[in-house]
């Protein structure tokens, strides 16, 4: 008899094989439906979830990988189509941040190897990339989301080496968040929606909360769910 954890691990592998097979055959829809069904059976997943991130530390690393994919795609678009009148200093900042996020994404992809989830398809239809306010507001939202995600999941990481990596990345995300906040409004780097004015702690969020937001920026075909 398999334990719950063995079943989960088996499922993750099944998911990955399914994705590879169906993505290769060009009928991803069918594969995603099948995976979604099996997820519901064995995992505690969010209702919209179709890609399981996996369990344990691998799941958490895939969670980070998913968020970094989202951020990298966002800044790639921002730099490719700069909002009108983007000052050169802001282009430099946003290009640097893009490079950091691409670096994070590619790091997780390399570190996860065969355990990595697939590349996700983004949906940025609600973002007006021609508008400075829209771009910076969403940039701040993505960075803040990343900080709350890493901080909120850290305690679940079992391997301290992975915890160290997460720690090394989350403070860079926080640096980004503060910068974007300051670009929107000078002195807006510890805004009260992110940092408590009563105890000085940054907000942290659990994976379900984070993914509920993150999924609104992912295409319907590549929604993700966490069960760690």
């Amino acid at each position: 008899m398999k334990t719950a954890s063995e079943l989960n691990t088996g499922n993750v592998n099944l998911h990955r094989r399914s994705f590879l097979r169906y993505a290769g055959a060009g009928i991803a829809g069918a594969g995603l439906l099948a995976v979604g069904a099996s997820c519901h059976k064995d995992h505690n997943v969010t209702p919209s979830g179709t890609i399981s991130l996996g369990t344990g530390d691998i799941g958490i690393l895939n969670y980070a990988y998913a968020l970094e994919q989202l951020e990298a795609a966002f800044y790639t678009q921002v730099v490719a189509t700069p909002y009108s009148g983007m000052p050169s200093v802001e282009l430099t900042f946003l290009t640097d941040i893009r490079d950091h996020e691409v670096c994070h994404r590619n790091f997780f992809k390399a570190a996860l190897g065969a355990s990595a989830i697939q590349s996700l398809s983004v949906n940025f239809s609600k973002i007006d990339f021609t508008s400075r306010t829209s771009v910076l507001t969403y940039a701040k939202a993505f960075e803040d989301l990343g900080v709350t995600a890493y901080d909120g999941v850290g305690y679940k990481i079992q391997n301290v080496a992975y915890l160290a990596i997460a720690g090394s990345i989350v403070s860079v995300e926080a640096r980004h968040a503060a910068l974007i906040g300051n670009l929107l409004q000078n002195g807006n780097f510890v805004s009260s929606d992110q940092v408590s004015t009563s105890n000085g702690l940054n907000v942290s969020n659990d994976p379900a909360t984070v993914l509920a937001t993150a999924n609104t920026f992912l295409s319907a075909q590549t929604q993700v769910s966490a069960n760690f």
Binding site: T76, D96, H100, H104, D151, S168, R175, G187, V203
Partner: protein, 279 residues
């Protein structure tokens, strides 16, 4: 700088300092010297550890309190720095930046003090002899020259970020305490970013909101007292320089590789950086 010398110097003032900042050693010592007390104090976490067998080295309450007191020592230092800076007439011209940081650092002192107390520990007090933000005369104008003040602030914030990071492993698996520590850690990073942005955007200092380095193992020396050489381009066994980037399918620049990750500092490395500020 001789680390042993530093610790000896601190122990002259504070005999328990080493124990507080070195929780592992403290725990080992306590097992024999007053084991029963430790056992009782550790009970809630021992109970918790039944459900977390995977965490090979779940921290004892003594370990946790040691880390928190180390953090509190740094927060006292930071709070005192901003309290004195903002208390110095005419020094600070960007209160929209410095005042929120002062608020956060004082909040961190209050928060950590209450957490340590709630765990049954004794929170460290602010250093009775006070602080020397000139670092023994290295920064004589810290409270008369605003640029020096900002440079020291940058060093304190970057050090704070990396200090918390270095202690995270000891708190692994502890939902309440690790999450709180990571949350403070993120706020220190926000401060560091803001001080750096202020210095570069308003005062023309050639830096970025993140720590970047022109050389793979080089240091970022923009701060007042930065002798860190912590930047590395290998993370978790992955050579970042060989990863694909926007510019290349097989390489990432040193600047990006160093900036994209903030490295931790060990307890002793933190001490080397902050000891000159403690009287």
């Amino acid at each position: 700088m001789n680390l042993f010398g530093i610790i000896e110097e601190i122990e002259k003032i504070d005999p328990d300092f080493q124990d507080r900042i070195n929780p592992r050693r403290d725990a080992i010592k306590n097992i024999t010297s007053f084991g029963s007390k430790v056992a009782v104090a550790a009970l809630p976490f021992a109970l918790g550890s039944i459900f977390k067998k995977a965490y090979g080295a779940a921290a004892s309450t003594t370990d946790v309190i040691g880390v928190l007191n180390f953090a509190l020592t740094l927060e006292h230092l930071e709070a005192a720095f901003y309290n004195q800076g903002l208390g110095t007439s005419g020094l600070v011209t960007d209160s929209s930046y410095i005042t929120p940081i002062q608020t956060d650092e004082n909040n961190h002192v209050t928060f950590l003090t209450s957490v340590i107390t709630s765990l049954g520990g004794t929170p460290v007090a602010a250093n009775a002899a006070g602080y020397d933000f000139t670092a023994g005369g290295t920064f004589p104008t810290v409270f008369s020259n605003y640029q020096t003040f900002l440079a020291v602030a940058e060093t304190l914030e970057d050090t704070g970020v990396r200090a918390y990071k270095g202690q995270a492993g000891t708190l692994a698996g502890n939902q309440t305490v690790l999450t709180a520590a990571l949350s403070i850690h993120a706020v220190e990073a926000r401060h560091a970013s803001a001080i750096r942005y202020l210095r570069m955007s308003k005062y023309g200092v050639s830096i970025y909101p993140w720590i970047t380095s022109p050389t793979a193992s080089g240091s970022d020396v923009s701060g007042a007292n930065s002798n860190d050489t912590g930047n590395t381009t290998v993370q978790g066994g992955v050579n970042i320089l060989t990863l694909a980037s926007v510019e290349s399918s097989s390489s990432t620049s040193v600047a990006t590789a160093t900036a994209a990750f903030d490295e931790p500092l060990t307890t002793n490395e933190v001490l080397a950086l902050v000891t000159p500020f403690i009287k």
